[in-house]
Amino acid sequence: MTDRPRPAAKRLTAESAEEHFVQLVTEHQPRIGAYIQSLLGDANRAADVLQETNLVLWRRKADYQVGKPFLPWAFGIARLQVLSNLRDKRRAPSLLDADVAELVSAEVETEAERLHEIQSALSECLSSLPEKRRQLIQDRYFESQTIDQIANSMSQGSSNVRVTLMRVRRQLAECIERRLATGGAS
């Protein structure tokens, strides 16, 4: 240990409550983002609402009681932001009507809470897919190609690709379901 004063460290201690809050927001950012995007069904719009949500979370940080589960509180705030976005008449209609978004929000919350479990189940499920199917997922979701682009490069019809994609998604969904049910979290 040196005798040199360490102002930076001191400031951290003084702001430790805020630090803690920031840490919570940071850690749960992927889940909150996923929650919002699931309800909105549009990545650009979701990025917007996530920013708004972060602002509101920050403004209302005094309402958050340390020690209480953070996520349900944050989801509650995010939900209100999503609903007001959906009810905004100036915007183009989104995927869901506001009343439907409210109905599915509980399910979406459950799924968003275990986003990481779903991600690790998914990575295992992907590696067990046959090569062609895995490639299709990679083209569509990792490389974000359109269905038409994929259809062209495979010299197939778009409707063919769409049907295959739906089958693969179904297969992945079943696989994830099973992994989660068998305690895939470990």
Partner: protein, 557 residues
């Protein structure tokens, strides 16, 4: 509502941007009235997000729709505007920054395992191979090079052989062709495996036993072709030419096309030297050819030597102060339902309780092992204390990987600092240490639950029944997890800082299985190993690659 679409069709269309207003109405109606669809919807959306996770770019939508969406530019201005507001709260920028960092770090291994590594599978599991190695005695430099010559690997007992060239510098290798012929190869030798019923001898000696079921087994040399008609024969190929000796039954010998010649028991022939075509008698020397029974005796001698070598190494290892627990499985296990911990000084509290698992042959005839077959089979242990780095090493014989998770060593619960070591059905080793506290109601969970170190797939069914050495080193100081197979590094995985757990714990745990149902009617995931274990060591330290290699050298069957 003439043609109603399924929920999946609707969601896929939504992702592609091809959802029209009728579809949209249908989707909302479906979700409004059907709770099951709501659950499906939530799962689908989350999976889509998880799939996009590796890349921050939103899904591209079909071009015609993009054209219609003219207000895109307005959106980005809006976003910029919000960013300006957001930057007023300076901390929030830090939030986003840190999020990006965390995200990139965390998602890297996910992408790595799902994209970079390609696993080809078909609906029905398949295996390949035309022959199996059933004995190796004093073998040195026993290798097989595949038919293309591109890769070569060491022979090991029970390994399946594909077409290719087998080389052996010295010692003996017994190879059983899938058609039923057994060949003992005498080093130095080189034999090319062509099919389940055909081989080409390039140099060296073989003794072949061909039971009636395997009649028609063919061995070619550069100057003749031997078709076995149910017999036992020896063949020696040297620069001077080939020499065939028939010990039993008869063989058909061809030195010229279309002129086969039958050769009976007690005959020894070789091809005439020079330009003349034809065969001449040669002296019969059966003692130059070891048969399967003779090889078995040699093998037993060698086994005994190997077993003794392992025992000496095992005695030394028992005194290693870094050992947490050591189950050598060398005491007679028959009739005994506890598994003694062999670390010195002896601590009987670390003895395991054998549940269901049966005693079986270990790596050598003289040494037992434990077989895990049924969902309940396991060894229960209780290992108190707190540790830092960990090393686990075991000899395992996998019969098949038929569970999603096939256990090697798992703690009962999965709390902060507890390790889980298992094999996925994809043949990948899976090691993780729980990095966060459990989802306690009163405590917000901090960060992702763990970091999984996944190895590339090391398993395929042709390895079934082989004794393999598996080890994992969880190195706290280097922030790495290293998987080993037979003393070689399979993968090194960097653990992100926020998922590195410096204090590890074991507590109640199971060898070869996972957890017990806490309530009488509770269901539990079936994770038992389908195979056998012979020796398991757990160290409270990160062993070096050299030390892992030595364990394999001293312990290989």
């Amino acid at each position: 509502m003439s043609s109603s679409k399924s929920l999946e069709e609707l969601l896929l269309a939504s992702e592609a941007g091809t959802l029209d207003s009728v579809d949209r109405e249908q989707l909302n109606e479906l979700l409004r009235h059907d709770p099951e669809s709501r659950a499906k919807f939530a799962r689908w959306q989350m999976t889509t997000i998880a799939l996009q996770d590796g890349t921050p770019t939103p899904l591209k939508i079909e071009s015609n729709v993009v054209a219609a969406e003219t207000n895109r530019a307005v959106w980005s201005e809006r976003q910029i505007y919000r960013w300006v507001i957001a930057s007023a709260a300076a901390l929030l920028i830090a939030v986003t920054f840190r999020w990006v960092q965390l995200e990139t770090r965390r998602s890297a291994p996910v992408v790595n395992t799902s994209v970079a590594r390609v696993r080809i599978s078909t609906d029905e599991p398949t295996s390949s191979g035309i022959a199996v190695v059933t004995q190796l005695v004093n073998a040195t430099d026993a290798m097989i090079q595949d038919a293309s010559g591109a890769s070569s690997k060491s022979l090991s007992i029970n390994s399946a052989l594909n077409p290719g060239s087998v080389r052996l510098e010295s010692g003996w290798a017994q190879i059983e062709f899938l058609n039923g012929a057994t060949v003992v190869l005498h080093g130095p030798a080189e034999m090319e495996l062509v099919s389940a019923a055909e081989a080409i001898m390039h140099r060296g000696r073989i003794r072949a036993e061909v039971p009636p079921a395997a009649r028609g087994f063919v061995v070619r040399t550069h100057d003749m072709k031997v078709v076995d008609l149910g017999t036992e024969f020896g063949l020696e190929v040297s620069p001077e030419g080939s020499n065939v000796q028939v010990f039993d039954g008869e063989v058909e010998l061809q030195v010229e096309e279309d002129r086969p010649q039958l050769v009976g028991a007690g005959k020894s022939l070789q091809r005439q030297t020079g330009a003349n075509v034809g065969l001449i008698d040669s002296p019969l020397t059966p003692d130059r050819f070891v048969d399967a029974a003779g090889l078995q005796r040699l093998a037993e001698t060698q086994q005994n030597e190997r077993y003794q070598l392992w025992r000496e190494a095992s005695e030394r290892q028992r005194n290693d102060p870094r050992l947490i627990a050591y189950y050598a499985m060398d005491s007679p296990l028959k009739g005994q339902r506890f598994l003694s911990n062999d670390s010195v000084p002896r601590n009987p509290d670390l003895d395991g309780a054998i549940v269901g698992a049966t005693v079986t042959r270990g790596r050598w005839d003289a040494k037992p092992g434990l077989q895990f077959k049924r969902p309940g089979d396991r060894v229960r242990v209780n290992v108190p204390g707190e540790f830092g780095s960990l090393t686990m090493a075991t000899w395992v014989r996998i019969d098949s990987l038929d569970r999603w998770y096939n256990s090697l060593f798992l703690t009962d619960s999965y709390q902060l600092g507890e390790p889980h070591w298992q094999i996925l059905d994809t043949g990948q080793l899976h090691f993780s240490v729980r990095a966060s506290t459990a989802g306690d109601e009163n405590e917000p969970s901090v960060g992702p639950p763990h970091h999984v170190a996944l190895s590339p797939s090391f398993w395929n069914p042709s390895l079934s029944g082989q004794w393999l050495h598996l080890a994992v080193v969880y190195d706290v100081d280097a922030s790495t997890t290293t998987h080993y197979l037979n003393g070689d590094v399979l993968s090194v995985d960097n653990i992100p800082d926020h998922q590195l757990v410096r204090t590890t714990r074991i507590g109640m745990a199971s060898i070869g299985n996972w957890s017990t149902p806490l309530e009488p009617d509770e269901h539990y995931a079936i994770r038992n190993l389908n195979g056998s274990l012979d020796e398991l060591a757990i160290f409270a330290a990160a062993l070096s690659p050299t030390e892992i290699k030595e364990m394999v050298e001293h312990g290989k069957p």
